[in-house]
């Protein structure tokens, strides 16, 4: 088996037994990137020399007996996470030249664990999008069908994992941006509970919704990454002090006694593709065969999720993105005008169409006379959506649903119609509004051979249970073993 095909778990084992070095492993993955990424476009920046240097240091650490599970493991990092000394663009032309002077907390943690950073992965500009087509540097292709989108906004991360151009990755999820690309690329992606992972150094899109999480080839790989990135950080006032369990201790007792809720609104949603419906129905049968009890439950405000989210997220974004004014960082545009003129030129030239749309939408929703009708109303509906989940989790342990209404769509198919693109987030964004964790795992393939994901959502801080259920499902099925031919 070529080294780049290894899971993190398998590679860590070989490294530990001294059968391979991190330098060998990192070279193999870098060669894979060099061979494939012209066609896939998963990376915005590849740090070849830096990665090899980190790999050699990881091998030294191991020789000195100081290795952890992630020491020497090559990873791709979404370009919205600040990496000290390594260009971080958020896929925006405005940040084309931005070199962070500091590491995000998750990067400090990964570096402490000895992980190797291969480079920065493509995304929708400032994480605003569901297809990675909004990147200021061009789209990423889906490794399963290069004419299709990989999902978004963490599309580069998901495509890199699916195409073996990294062993695992970090993404960010504001309305489904980890889970939906994981689903479209046939891999595993976890959005942790809001507050579980520090957002320090994560470039802010919508601060009450954003959360960093892992994308991997297996559930265990995501658990290994979670063990490193979670935990309280004094530099993020929304990070929580909840104890962090060992996520790799995936419970061995199967799904016996587990109560799984099936939210009827997710299964009866308009526009749910027949192949997706069938794959998720198959997954329900599988968990029942594994001993779980399923029960229909209702999340009655689901249909209002998209409207509430697309008021709240752009409102927060319009405020967060005020910082891109060409003063402290970024590509400044100026003429002979005054300061205001410089702001306008910089922002108008630097931001892409979708980012401008959301800034205007958010500014409008927050503006005098409209605040109560839009932002106020959406924040109240958010409360009702949280109540829905609270009532549901009184009746069941986890919820099972589709991740996206359809498999990956064609590049260009939805770019002309922003609202249609927004509606494709219907199954993922309620988890962000409620702050609960959700995972996407492979559960089937469409008739055209495209991967389909299964979403499992859980109570706040119940990631260990999500990972355990996902792991049992994975072990009982073969979907994760199928790989794209490239």
């Amino acid at each position: 088996m070529p080294l780049y095909e290894l899971t993190i778990e398998a590679a860590a084992d070989l490294l530990q037994r001294g059968e391979i070095s991190s330098e060998d492993l990192t070279r193999a993955v870098l060669a894979r990137i060099a061979a494939l990424d012209d066609r896939v476009g998963a990376y915005l920046t590849v740090d070849r020399e830096g990665a090899l240097e980190q790999a050699r240091r990881a091998d030294e650490l191991r020789a000195a007996g100081q290795a952890t599970a992630l020491t020497g493991i090559p990873l791709g990092i979404k370009d919205v996470i600040c990496t000290r000394g390594l260009r971080t663009t958020c896929a925006s032309r405005l940040l084309d030249n931005f070199i962070p002077p500091y590491d995000a907390t998750v990067m400090q943690r990964l570096r402490q664990a000895g992980a190797v950073v291969l480079g920065k992965t493509n995304m929708d500009e400032f994480a605003m999008g569901s297809s990675t087509e909004n990147s200021g540097f061009g789209p990423t292709a889906n490794p399963w069908d290069l004419s299709r989108i990989p999902g978004g906004s963490s599309g580069g991360s998901a495509a890199a994992v699916a195409a073996n151009m990294c062993l695992g990755s970090l993404g960010s999820d504001t309305g489904g941006s980890i889970r939906q690309p994981a689903s479209h690329c046939g891999i595993v992606g976890l959005k942790p509970t809001y507050g579980r992972v520090s957002r320090y150094g994560l470039v802010a899109f919508a601060s009450s919704l954003d959360q960093i999480g892992p994308l991997g080839k297996s559930v265990m790989d995501c658990a290994l990454l979670m063990n490193v990135i979670c935990g309280h950080d004094p530099r993020d006032s929304t990070s929580v002090s909840e104890p962090v369990p060992d996520f790799t201790r995936l419970r061995a007792d199967g799904l016996q006694g587990l109560k799984i809720g099936l939210p009827v609104e997710y299964f009866e949603a308009q526009g749910l593709d027949a192949d997706v419906r069938q794959a998720v129905a198959g997954a329900v049968a599988t968990v029942e065969a594994l001993g779980a009890e399923t029960v229909e439950i209702s999340l009655p405000h689901t249909q209002y999720g998209v409207a509430a989210y697309y008021i709240i997220a752009p409102s927060e974004a319009s405020s967060n993105l005020a910082r891109y004014d060409g003063v402290r960082f970024g590509v400044r545009r100026e003429d002979d005008g005054d300061l205001l003129d410089m702001f306008r030129r910089t922002r108008s030239a630097g931001f892409g169409a979708e980012v401008k749309r959301r800034i205007i939408l958010g500014t409008y929703a927050l503006s005098a006379g409209y605040y109560d009708a839009y932002y106020g109303k959406a924040s109240q509906v958010r409360t009702l959506i949280i109540e829905d989940f609270r009532k549901a989790f009184a009746q069941c342990d986890v919820l099972l649903s589709p991740v996206a209404p359809t498999p990956a769509f064609a590049i260009g198919e939805k770019t002309a119609d922003p609202l249609t693109m927004y509606l494709s987030d219907v199954f993922t964004l309620c988890a962000n509004l409620a702050g609960i964790p959700g995972i996407s795992i492979p559960c089937g393939f469409s008739s055209a051979g495209l991967p389909i994901g299964l979403q499992i959502m859980g109570r706040h801080f119940d990631e260990a249970r999500l990972l355990a259920v996902a792991h049992h499902f994975e072990q009982a099925t073969d979907f994760h073993k199928r790989k794209p031919e490239l």
Partner: protein, 96 residues
């Protein structure tokens, strides 16, 4: 919900964005479609519902001690500036 070109121009101005006339038409049409969809929220009676700004909040988010911590050295804080003079960010003249 219709939103006029002038309204979009006004909001763009608030957001420090300059849009070409043609882009304004497209933007007004798209924002109008999106706002019309938002009207679905008015089907719900939220009279007695408290708004939520953050789904997970105190008391599990501890407050740090109010002491001076590490901060970026000035040269690093200035390292990405489009224009600086070694001490400050430099911007176009604001006051004549």
């Amino acid at each position: 919900m219709q939103i006029s070109k002038d309204e979009v121009r006004h909001v763009a101005r608030l957001a420090r964005l300059a849009l070409e006339d043609e882009a304004l038409d497209d933007m007004a049409a798209q924002i109008g479609t999106i706002l019309a969809y938002m009207e679905t929220l008015n089907r719900i009676d939220t009279t007695a519902v408290q708004p939520t700004a953050h789904a997970v909040s105190a008391p599990i988010t501890p407050v740090r001690e109010d002491v001076t911590g590490e901060h970026l050295p000035r040269d690093q804080a200035l390292s990405n500036a489009p224009a600086e003079d070694g001490e400050s960010f430099v911007v176009p003249r604001v006051i004549d």
